[in-house]
């Protein structure tokens, strides 16, 4: 009997996620406000149904009451986020809020299945982070000095990364964490602020050189710390922002060529890069060592096939770090390939929505910020999914909002809050901006003083 429900739920969950994905893309269509609101309401319904059905299955299969409690927590969380944004930010993008809720739901459902303790820890961070992030849109609105801190961003970024490199703890062959947090995650935000504040007014050659030097330092330290995934995210974000601000494709093409050459050099210079490539090209030949993860991941994806094994029906635990670097494979195995494809589409629509917001912003500084953050998000999604599916070599990076990891979740939530702030700003007129600026300049100065 329970098996029947689990079997049926597989298909229902796929249908729900397909519905959600379609709704995401429908939102891009220009339409009247009340129809948009209706669509957003439908999306929310899908999220609630998804959570209800998943946790029903999780409860039935595990028999643990904790699952029901967790379900309660999740529902409360979704309700709180939805209401608070509606109360405090009337102009907020509810699609952004919905997407965040959906991706967090998918992530926490799969995490509950993989490791209940981790799921609870993750939930606490997500809840606290979301509460914290509620003030971010206001801050963005008020902190005009943000565009003047160029070299502070650069300094903080480089020093923190260097500190991790020197002092950090080594996990899975990479130095990532310092006192339990992963600074490279937070520096992603700071880096975008650095690039935007450096380039928004002046995109002359000298400025590009400055940006290149600082970005190069970031990337180099990350490569030496063996955090290849983050290094790539920084590099691509740097290239995209330079290209967009200078409008010179040559920079982008040249940068890509330089990146390619650097990758080849890194391949011959660093043993750990070679291992990753071997594991990608011939995973079975190094099955006992570095090929193990990717082979297990491919077993998971293949076994899951289109509709998945159903929650608690597969063995995603056999993939090392299934809850972080390979969460996508765990989703493929238990929720199925169709679900996974929808997840990719949701992430894509999320990125396009951010670019859309960026397009509509007039303030060049904020415009660049939105695009930079969006690029980081999209490229990280690509690295994670590409790596887990053996499309590209594994770089060991989380899937934002879905993977386990406090730093990653917190960073993404803050990123989204910043974008939310920019979205709200977008609606305001330039004059109004000017007016508020004058009124608040003093305020801001005082805040710096403090």
């Amino acid at each position: 009997m329970i098996n029947i429900i689990v079997e049926l739920s597989k298909y229902l969950l796929v249908i729900l996620v397909i519905l959600y994905t379609l709704q995401c893309f429908q939102m891009f269509r220009k339409q009247e406000t009340h129809r948009q609101k209706l669509l957003l309401g439908k999306q929310l319904t899908v999220i609630v149904l998804f959570l209800s059905l998943s946790f029903l299955v999780l409860y039935l299969k595990s028999g643990e009451l904790r699952m029901l409690l967790f379900y309660g927590q999740m529902m409360l969380y979704v309700a709180a986020v939805q209401t608070l944004y509606r109360i405090f930010y009337k102009k907020a993008s509810m699609l952004l809020v919905n997407n965040m809720c959906m991706l967090l739901s998918i992530g926490l459902v799969i995490l509950c299945r993989l490791n209940m303790e981790k799921a609870e820890r993750q939930f606490m961070i997500v809840a606290a982070g979301s509460a914290l992030a509620l003030v971010v849109p206001v801050m963005i609105r008020k902190m005009y000095f943000l565009k003047k801190l160029t070299w502070i961003y650069a300094g903080v970024g480089v020093i923190l990364l260097a500190a991790v490199f020197v002092l950090g703890r080594t996990t899975f062959g990479a130095k990532l964490t310092l006192f339990g947090v992963q600074p490279s995650e937070f520096i992603k935000i700071i880096f975008v602020f650095f690039m935007a504040s450096l380039l928004w007014k002046d995109s002359s050659f000298m400025q590009v050189v400055r940006a290149t030097i600082v970005a190069g330092m970031h990337v180099l330290i990350l490569v030496m710390s063996r955090d290849l995934g983050s290094a790539l995210v920084f590099f691509i974000t740097y290239l995209v922002m330079i290209y967009v601000v200078t409008r010179k494709p040559l920079y982008f093409v040249g940068g890509m060529a330089g990146g390619a050459v650097a990758s080849v050099i890194a391949y011959f210079l660093f043993g750990h890069v070679q291992q990753r490539v071997t594991a990608w090209k011939r995973p079975f030949s190094v099955y006992e060592q570095e090929g193990y993860q990717i082979v297990q991941s491919m077993f998971a994806i293949g076994t899951g096939s289109w509709f998945g094994m159903g929650l608690f029906q597969g063995s995603p635990d056999s993939i090392p770090v299934a809850d972080e670097d390979f969460v996508f494979s765990a989703i493929c195995e238990e929720l199925g390939g169709m679900f996974a494809i929808c997840l990719i589409l949701i992430c894509m629509s999320f990125f396009l929505m951010i670019v859309n917001i960026s397009l509509q912003i007039k303030n060049p500084f904020y415009k660049l910020i939105a695009l930079g953050l969006g690029t980081e998000y999209a490229f990280q999604v690509f690295l994670h999914i590409g790596g887990a599916t053996k499309f590209i070599p594994m770089t060991g990076i989380t899937l934002p909002l879905v993977s386990y990891g406090g730093s990653s979740a917190l960073t993404t939530i803050i990123m989204l809050a910043i974008i939310q702030g920019l979205y709200i700003l977008r609606e305001d007129e330039d004059e109004e901006l000017e007016k508020i600026r004058k009124a608040l300049e003093q305020n801001a100065q005082e805040e710096i003083g403090e």
């Binding site: 082979v295 996974a340 990125f351 397009l359 690509f382 599916t389």
Partner: protein, 482 residues
């Protein structure tokens, strides 16, 4: 989604300013779409290769909910089935006991043979979905799919009993399709009593009964290798008709002597005769002329030193001469001694290639997968690996092999209602005084329109004509007369 953006562009006076944004969006859309295409491609095409890997233990968890399906012969006979004991426990039953031991394999102790290769199918159920639901309701197991093999009980038992108690192996292929009709390896074991005998079987190095000699045995090819030497000659000279040799029963070069079997003096002969009588002197002379590099290349075109297109575990054949090889090694190698090692399966593939006009069909064991009601779930079709040698070369080799049966070392296979072409071999092994030889035969019938290709080896069986040829004869007889 992009409609909105283009709409924006029209309204936006600074539309060129936004152009890079559009390009960046398109780039990422391409990246995301390629991820999706890759995932589709993997699930549709590549996933099977991964799922069926012996490293994959994931399928074993299916066993909690599925009764392992049966393995059937091409005639529909049960080769392996799961039965339920009186106490409700499941056990695997192999009705033919030792006969299919290696090719069907076993499902415990890490799995081997088809039990390993088809594990995924055996543990997947494609029973009618309503019935599956009913079982779920009653909390009963579903019945796994059956795997129908290309193996024929008739051919397998003919080969098995023809080998008798002698150690060795037989492979029977269908050249036009690559179907494996029989694969016997002796010494063997009874998979029904694997548990009781496991410790003995794994420690018994003298018999190595668990080893599938057909695919993993490594034997010197003996005179069977003369096919490669002849192929090399043909390639160098464009014809074999210009070869003439005066055999004195032995040949000495650089103080190294090769003798003919029983020191028979073959006298004046052409390549047809030298091949049919398996004249060592002539082929040693030929090999030295050709050189090590050329000989190896001819062998490699027949997949020596190469991966074989097989789904099961196997050992690649070794042929190690090169331009620096000395004359003694060349003389040895060209008559199939030296360092060369082959598996019976590979030799069957060589015979099959020649029979199929130079094109090797991938050998395969699983014909189709059915649900337990007999409804087809998946059908495997014959698949050409590629043309290993051009048809012109294949037909010359076929002609040489026909001579072997017509007037050479395998005349006992003649005079039947079918025609045979083949090559015998006796491969010496062991060091010093006590030399013994493995008995080889590879060949095919019918010559005009080949039906089956066989490869037979009998360890310590003496000359090919003595032991391997009669076994091949029994197999051909079974195919045509039973």
């Amino acid at each position: 989604m992009l409609r909105k953006k283009s709409g924006n562009k029209k309204q936006n006076p600074t539309q060129s300013r936004n152009q890079p944004y559009a390009i960046v969006s398109y780039m990422f859309v391409i990246i995301f779409v390629s991820l999706i295409v890759w995932l589709l491609y993997f699930n549709l095409v590549k996933s099977e290769e991964f799922i069926n890997s012996p490293y994959n233990t994931r399928q074993d968890t299916f066993a909690d909910r599925v009764i392992r399906g049966s393995i059937l012969s091409s005639e529909g006979e049960v080769l392996a089935a799961t039965q339920i004991a009186d106490d409700g426990s499941e056990y695997r039953y192999y009705p033919y006991a030792n006969m299919f031991a290696h090719v069907v394999g076993y499902a415990s102790y890490g799995k081997s043979g088809l039990e390993s290769e088809a594990n995924f199918h055996l543990l997947s159920s494609h029973a009618f979905f309503l019935e599956q639901m009913k079982n779920e309701f009653k909390n009963e197991k579903n019945t796994g799919d059956n795997v129908v093999t290309t193996l024929s009980v008739k051919m397998q038992s003919a080969a098995y009993y023809a080998l008798g108690d002698r150690k060795g192996a037989v492979v029977v292929l269908e050249p036009s399709t690559g179907k494996i009709l029989a694969m016997v390896s002796r010494s063997d074991f009874d998979p029904n009593y694997l548990e009781d005998n496991w410790d003995y079987l794994t420690s018994d190095e003298e018999n190595s009964s668990l080893l599938n000699r057909a695919t993993q045995g490594q034997y010197p090819p003996g005179s069977v290798f003369k096919i490669v030497t002849a192929l090399d000659y043909l390639r160098k000279h464009g014809t074999i008709e210009d070869f003439h040799y005066d055999c004195q029963g032995e040949i000495t070069k650089q103080e190294h002597t090769i003798t003919d079997y029983d020191r028979t003096v073959h006298g004046q002969e052409d390549l047809h005769d030298a091949f049919a009588y398996s004249c060592n002197s002539a082929f040693a002379e030929m090999g030295v002329q050709m050189g090590g590099e050329s000989l190896r290349e001819a062998g490699e075109s027949l997949l020596f030193n190469k991966k074989l297109p097989l789904t099961m575990d196997y050992k690649s054949s070794v042929l190690s001469t090169d331009s620096k090889s000395g004359v003694p090694l060349l003389m040895q190698t060209s008559i199939g001694q030296g360092n060369t090692l082959v598996s019976p399966m590979h030799m069957a593939m060589v015979a099959s290639t020649i029979a199929n006009r130079g094109v090797l069909m991938k050998p395969y064991l699983i014909d189709r997968v059915e649900n337990y009601n007999g409804d087809q779930v998946k059908k495997y079709m014959p698949d050409a690996y590629r043309e290993l040698i051009p048809v012109s070369e294949a037909s010359v080799l076929a002609e040489l092999m026909k001579g072997v049966v017509d007037y050479g070392t395998a005349t006992s296979l003649g005079g039947q209602g079918y025609t045979v072409a083949g090559k015998t071999g006796s491969a010496e092994y062991g060091e010093g005084e006590i030399k013994d030889s493995h008995s080889w035969f590879i060949g095919y019938s019918n010559v005009e329109d080949p039906d089956i290709a066989v490869s037979v080896i009998i360890e310590g069986g003496g000359t090919g004509s003595e032991s391997a040829v009669p076994v091949a004869g029994a197999i051909f007889n079974a195919y045509y007369y039973e």
